[in-house]
């Protein structure tokens, strides 16, 4: 997983509430057996018309937002299915950070497994950032200090769980981390076999 510490980039503003994972990556792209190559299908039905032509007024189709690394959106971003194809598509497009007032749980978790930082921020602050995004000005995200920096030198702080932060900063493979605890897991399993033997 690619590490995340700091990025400074153009942000794309997508002010829609309840952006669901079907919007982010529709079903026909879930047939892949790979994690890569989904960027061109990101927000497919909003980005392309029925003939497959780019829809001009969709934000990600226009320069400089087609190179955005930050996405700003509405409440409950990523609701719906557990498909990790959603963060894969965002990542493949180039998005490394999503800022919204709230996220759906499964999507939120899936982001961290792919080096994407989802930031939960007050609605007013999200609106302020969306104005900056519309002006095509860059926004800087500093994960180490947990700050969002903008032109006015009045950074926004954000919260993140320490373990998740650590994993992003170091690009950890959390399976490798867990496997270091294998003996602990085996001991637990042994105990559980005694308490609930019908499960084994």
């Amino acid at each position: 997983m690619e590490k995340f510490s700091k990025i400074k980039a153009i942000a794309a503003d997508l002010q829609i509430m309840n952006v669901d994972t079907d919007m982010i990556i529709p079903k026909q792209f879930l047939k892949t057996i790979k994690r890569t190559g989904l960027g061109s299908a990101l927000f497919y039905e909003m980005r392309y018309d029925q003939k497959g032509n780019l829809i001009k007024d969709f934000v990600l189709n226009n320069d400089p937002f087609n190179k955005a690394k930050i996405l700003i959106s509405g409440k409950n971003f990523g609701c719906g299915s557990s498909r990790e194809h959603a963060p894969w598509a965002l990542l493949d497009f180039g998005i490394r950070c999503i800022i919204a007032p709230s996220f759906a749980d499964i999507f939120y978790n899936n982001c961290f497994k792919n080096g994407i930082l989802p930031i939960i921020l007050d609605e007013n602050k999200v609106k302020e950032l969306s104005e900056i995004a519309k002006q095509k000005k860059e926004i800087e995200i500093d994960l180490v200090d947990q700050k969002i920096l903008k032109e006015d030198n009045q950074p926004f702080d954000f919260e993140i769980e320490s373990f998740k932060k650590e994993c992003l900063l170091n690009g950890y493979d959390d399976i490798a981390l867990t496997l270091k605890k294998e003996s602990k897991i085996n001991n637990f399993e042994q105990k559980r076999k005694n308490i609930t033997p019908w499960l084994y």
Binding site: N18, K31, E45, F163
Partner: protein, 466 residues
């Protein structure tokens, strides 16, 4: 200290808890399907890792499978590759797999309970958000992404943070014709699609006690549509009776031992909930969604909302967007909405009881000439049972298509899709833009409401029919 059922299950599965609240949770059972697993198995191969507990894992293909004649395999190349990949991966890693021609094949959340794989007090995961279904048995069950699928395959654990407790009480008597689907849609309408985010929901009260296991599954299934990864109902005698004798249920002397343990799985009297709401069952009505989020609900006697009276700007924009997509005018009575298709099936409403309720409505009647209606049983065993009861005959005589089991038009990964602008009364769980096909318009309803709509060609108040 008094505990909720969620607290109890969580504690009994804690391998480790870190100071920052991160926990390592032991996973008892893992369901696997073809769409969210290939990259996980590939990850294991690349890192030379094994499946830690193949016997705790059960795999089936459901999302991509055709529901028409399967004798020639899957026509869509990519779908065929995905299903074949699952079969190969299961062979290579020693995972139990129900193939396409196995009569036990079906939707992962139908076959888990059907096989007795799902039991109270377990932690159950699957790379599918509707894993919450299994909470109906008093299990902690939730959906995970593919990276987490790989994590569970490799370690039989998951790194998690604790959720908060949310109790939803529904007491009173449901009016005739009002179903489990209407209850859960009403709940989602009330708390919103993000209302359960960060929580595990416990459904409590007479209504859920009186529900059958199938009805409980319908409710827990859509917990995720309320934002909660998991929703559960304390197990009781109905739960035990449902499980007893199923192929993977505890046997012989272990049965008694299991039941004794399961009986401890209830919320203590003084347990604290972070949030609690109460609904009156008597007030719940047959429900239809009008928009593109499961929270966009209306009573059958209601109207499509008018965005001009909405004061919140974001909500107003959202309603306008939804109505535009749905091709609906503000203030249209729900009963005036004509439909083109009916889909009865899915992990929400594709079980035998659902089909039994449907035939009660359609027996001796005909599907409206403007409507195409399909019934997709949730599993091969549901299909078989229905055929033994003659359900298929009644449905076919009424003009419904009777299909092979799978996820089908709930998400349209197979050829069962809506065409642009087609309007569907669907017993599935999501009415998102494009969910059932690009431009397709989904109205979520109960099986009896879908059945009645198929006959009338538009939505009708089921209470006037039964």
């Amino acid at each position: 200290m008094s505990k909720t059922i969620y607290d109890k299950i969580l504690e009994s599965h804690l391998v480790e808890e870190q100071s920052d609240g991160t926990i390592l949770l032991y996973i008892d059972r893992h369901l696997v399907h073809e769409v969210t697993s290939p990259q996980a198995f590939e990850g294991l191969r690349m890192t030379n890792r094994k499946v830690k507990s193949p016997l705790s894992t059960l795999a089936v293909a459901d999302h991509n499978v055709p529901t028409t004649d399967r004798s020639k395999g899957i026509a869509d190349k990519e779908s065929a590759i995905q299903v074949e990949t699952l079969s190969k991966n299961c062979k290579e890693f020693g995972v139990n797999f129900f193939g396409l021609n196995d009569k036990r094949q079906g939707i992962v959340h139908v076959i888990g309970p059907e096989q007795g794989f799902t039991q109270p007090g377990m932690t159950i995961v699957c790379g599918d958000s509707h894993t919450s279904t299994h909470g109906a048995f008093g299990a902690l069950a939730f959906g995970i992404g593919t990276s987490e699928v790989e994590h569970v395959l490799a370690t039989q654990t998951l790194i998690q943070t604790k959720a908060k407790n949310f109790r939803i009480n529904v007491n009173g008597k449901l009016p005739l014709g009002v179903t489990a689907k209407d209850v859960i849609l009403t709940i989602i309408g009330k708390i919103g699609t993000a209302g359960g985010t960060g929580y595990v929901i416990e459904y409590a009260g007479d209504v859920f006690r009186n529900f059958s296991m199938e009805e409980r599954m319908t409710v827990c299934n859509m917990s995720i549509e309320a934002g909660a990864r998991a929703g559960l109902i304390a197990p009781d005698q109905k739960t035990f009776d449902y499980i007893k004798g199923r192929p993977m249920a505890p046997k012989a002397d272990k049965w008694e031992q299991a039941v004794n343990y399961w009986k401890t799985l209830f919320t203590d009297k003084d347990a604290k909930f972070d949030r609690e709401i109460h609904l009156n069952a008597n007030e719940i009505e047959p429900t239809v969604t009008w928009g593109t989020s499961p929270q966009d609900i209306s009573s059958i006697n209601g109207n499509v909302p008018d965005p001009t009276v909405e004061k919140n700007e974001d909500k107003k924009k959202s309603i306008i967007r939804s109505l535009n997509y749905m091709g609906l005018e503000p203030n249209t009575p729900i009963k005036d909405i004509k439909i083109d298709k009916v889909f009865i099936g899915s992990c929400t409403n594709g079980r035998i009881e659902d089909l039994r309720e449907v035939v009660k409505i359609v027996k001796g009647k005909k599907v409206n000439k403007n409507v195409e209606a399909i019934v997709v049983p949730g599993s091969g065993l549901v299909k078989l049972q229905a055929e033994q009861e003659g359900i298929d005959i009644i449905l076919k005589e009424a003009g419904f298509e009777w299909r092979e089991p799978g996820c089908s038009m709930c998400l349209g990964m197979n050829p069962d899709q809506l065409k642009p602008q087609e309007r569907c009364a669907s017993t599935s769980n999501r009415n998102f833009e494009g969910r059932q096909g690009r431009g397709g318009r989904t109205h979520l309803v109960s099986p009896v409401m879908a059945a009645a709509a198929a006959i009338e060609g538009k939505f009708v108040d089921i209470r006037k029919i039964i």
